[in-house]
Amino acid sequence: MRTFNIAAATLKGNPMARDSQAALVALNRFGLGARGGASGDFVNAASDPRGFVKAELDRPNGALLEAPGLQSTPALAQEVFAYQLEQKQAREAAAKSGTATPPPEANPAPSAADDKMQRRNLSLDRMAMEMSPKESAKEPAKASAENANAAMTPADAMQPNAQKPPQSPLNVIQKTFRAEALARLQRASLVDCGFTERLVVFWSNHFCISANKGGLARMWAGSFEREAIRPHVLGRFADMLKAVEQHPAMLFFLDNQQSLGPDSRAGQNRNRGLNENLAREIMELHTLGVGGGYSQDDVTSLARIITGWTFAGRQGKLGTPGVFVFNANAHEPGPQRLLGQLYEDNGVAQGEAALGFIARHPSTAKFVATKFARHFVSDDPPPALVARLRDVFSKTDGDLKALAIALLDSDEAWQAPPTKLRSPYEFVVATGRLLSQMPQDPSRYLGGLNLLGQPLWSPAGPNGFADTNAAWAAPEGMKLRLDISAQVASRLADNVDPRDLLELAVADAASPETRRTIERAESRQQALALLLMSPEFQRR
């Protein structure tokens, strides 16, 4: 394993010191990788590694993401409700007229179809075969003057090629998902270091929803992150917790809109009751953690406390469709005991008080500190670092900016060897940044993430994507990374010199073996693929 010798001067923030290993930590462990071209990222990171990472934290609202066309959760809800109604009517009309199958555009592509495909273990080859038009070899050439030179102009390198198979038009859910994904990818491609974006990704995965839950979840995956996560990544944990648990996307993902107080009016009328899903995950995954000192009774209590937390539906009976509402009719009446505390029934405030208490619980501080250190530093983070982060979290009332700064100020976070593998998201984004790509179409990135097992905003369960090395440094995963690197290189290597890119991304932190492997590659394509797969590019 590589050893890390970081000059003491650098750790004390001496701006004159230049330390390439520390630059690698700044860029890769905390950021999204050096950008290519004239960004100067590596040089800037090497001259003041800590300052380079911290600079982003001082930008007010630096985590917020606004882009033309991105809409609020209620506005998106109204679009998806209208779309679903249209689909339903089309199906009914088809049934009435005796058509056996609904028209093709009525297929619920974003949810059920996706789920089915997710379970199939497609190989690259098979996928390529399925995606290729069977007769295209016989199609007349579109060898017009415009595309005759397409192969040679760099601007075209990232664009889809001619003769694409015809595709059915995207529905509003697919369009929205792609627009949200594109906005996130463009932000990630643009930022200097990317530490704030890494924090967004971390918290978004901590409080994950899955777009595979259904049309609403896919529609809201991006707005959930923009509205519930981003405003708070440098704010207070308690505020993020409340924003998350009251967000329609989370309420839908973990079924709370179906949960009725058994003794509430709605529960009595419909003879239905609690759904504990959200309450359990709040304590197990979002705050206290397994073994964090809660019991089944506490789960049930919290479930009762947050009954009535829902969102207004299509018909708008409870409010503007798609907004969070407290439905008193569904709320379990009476006081509840949770974690030894008694919460009077004062409507929505009962649950807000309970969340406020849980957010400040010592188990939450420990759970969050451990996950935070595990994500950035190592699978088994140094206990002293975890303890320090825990104390900062507690003493600052869950100030997440203070938590981030405490991590950056620690020596451990800079000295730990780079044992973690970049997640697929970090890998594809870092690749695009190094090759100076500004995504105009999210397809390649989304396709790569799907193949590598980290489909955007679509983890398999509410525990999110794994954050340990074993999950990503797996045999098939590494083979697929190599295939993707080779594909990227076959498209983009013609106009770059991989030796220059090595200097931009790794500089003199490159091992002699890596440098030699790249210099001795037999083509630019091979050299670029090897650079993207080098330990210096893959590890952080």
Binding site: L124, D125, A128, S132, G447, L480, Q487, L530, P535
Partner: protein, 416 residues
């Protein structure tokens, strides 16, 4: 996450959706093909000649001493050691004359040579004298005297000098990359066996080697992943087109020949084959290089067969960025060198000859005491072909196609 999903949902990499002309093309790794988009006007010239020109680039540096072995040179066997070819024995090299012998993996080329439709230029090199693949390929393909000029290639600039006829109408998908030799202002079309679904075996081997030194955990994971992948493809003993360079070369050549044989098909094309960087376990009459040469041999045969009667007016030039060390290294391979061979094939070639001002392999005769010394400028041979086969003038060849190459006069009598 417990079970990472490997599936695709509604989004797939665009590269796999597009320009995939067939299942077969998707399997082809490490090869590319591109062609000029117009039929040259001279195709309708009164003499009925309708010349076709194919340039094949071998990326990675071909070992010229292993391909066309100077078995008559007293120093050859000692230098090439365990991988040297011999004129007798179980895998005897194919004697071309009393001095040079062809690698036994190339029987088709040997036949063309006997039929006087193939020739060899030995101890040849571009003007590039360092040993970087990238820079060497730049010089080979750009036609400039030094590296760093990657905007256009010499074949494209040669096309600019030709009278432009009708547009090629054969179905060609536009592929994402064109070899530098054919890049430039003259419009070209590419064919698409460049959509690589899988990294080449050679790239994977190099990465495993790097990981084994720097990151044993990744070395183990990747090795297992590669093994899994092979098993998933079924019989892992049988060579597959995608993982076997020889099969890929034949298939690309077959497709290219079919396109070029058509009356309205392209007349001038370039192909690039990867994988010639044989630092370790190069092999002698059998082995890694033998497999590659067998693929190249098969590719040439595919052109001959696929072009049919057009073969008569065809020239194929096979060139590489530089040669390899005369002395084998400590891993039964050869390192980057200088002088090497260029191969010429086609019915229009005045063949049956090894054209060489042989420098000898005595230590004092080697370039920098390690490489076959180059005695022929590759540009002279290429200029000779362009002059005799396509009718380009000496002036345009020296000024535009190969800038600053006036000293390398077009070699006469290669074509006719």
């Amino acid at each position: 996450m417990e079970s990472p999903s490997k599936a695709t949902t509604m989004d797939c990499p665009e590269s796999l959706k597009s320009s995939a002309t067939s299942r077969r093309s998707l399997l082809l790794g490490g090869a590319s093909f591109a062609a000029w988009a117009y039929l040259p006007k001279f195709a309708r010239a009164a003499d009925g000649r309708d010349p076709r020109l194919v340039v094949v680039i071998l990326r990675g540096a071909l070992d010229g001493l292993a391909t066309v072995a100077p078995v008559g040179d007293p120093d050859y066997a000692g230098l090439h050691g365990s991988i040297a070819l011999t004129p007798d024995g179980p895998h005897a090299a194919l004697m071309l004359d009393s001095f040079f012998a062809l690698h036994p993996a190339m029987p088709e080329f040997a036949r063309m040579y006997r039929e006087k439709h193939a020739a060899i230029i030995h101890a040849v090199a571009t003007p590039y004298r360092d040993r970087s693949h990238f820079d060497g390929q730049d010089v080979l393909e750009s036609g400039f005297a030094g590296p760093g000029r990657v905007q256009s290639g010499w074949l494209n600039r040669a096309l600019e000098a030709l009278p432009r006829g009708d547009r090629v109408t054969t179905a060609l998908a536009v592929g994402p990359t064109t070899p530098l030799v054919l890049r430039g202002a003259a419009p070209t079309v590419g064919w698409a066996p460049v959509a690589l679904p899988q990294a080449a075996d050679d790239t994977a081997m190099r990465l495993v080697e790097l990981y084994s030194h720097r990151d044993p955990a990744l070395a183990s994971a990747l090795s297992q992943g590669l093994q899994l992948d092979k098993s998933a493809q079924g019989d892992d003993m049988k060579p597959k087109p995608g993982t076997n360079g020889a099969g890929a070369m034949r298939l690309v050549a077959r497709g290219a020949a079919k396109l070029m044989a058509a009356d309205d098909g392209p007349r001038i094309a370039a192909l690039a084959f990867d994988g010639w960087d044989t630092h370790a376990n190069e092999g002698g009459p059998v082995g890694r290089l033998a497999q590659l040469l067998s693929g190249l041999d098969g590719a040439l045969a595919e052109f001959e067969q696929g072009l049919g009667e057009r073969w008569r007016d065809t020239v194929i030039v096979v060139a590489t960025e530089f040669g390899r060390t005369a002395h084998i290294n400590g891993t039964e391979g050869t390192d980057h060198g200088t002088g090497t061979v260029a191969l010429l094939a086609g019915g229009a070639i005045k063949g049956g000859r090894v054209i060489s001002d042989w420098p000898g392999l005595k230590p004092a005769n080697l370039y920098q005491a390690r490489d076959l010394a180059p005695t022929t400028d590759l540009r002279a041979a290429l200029k000779g072909v362009l002059h005799d086969h396509l009718g380009l003038g000496e002036r345009v060849l020296a000024d535009n196609v190969f800038p600053d190459s006036a000293a390398a006069k077009p070699m006469k009598g290669l074509v006719g």
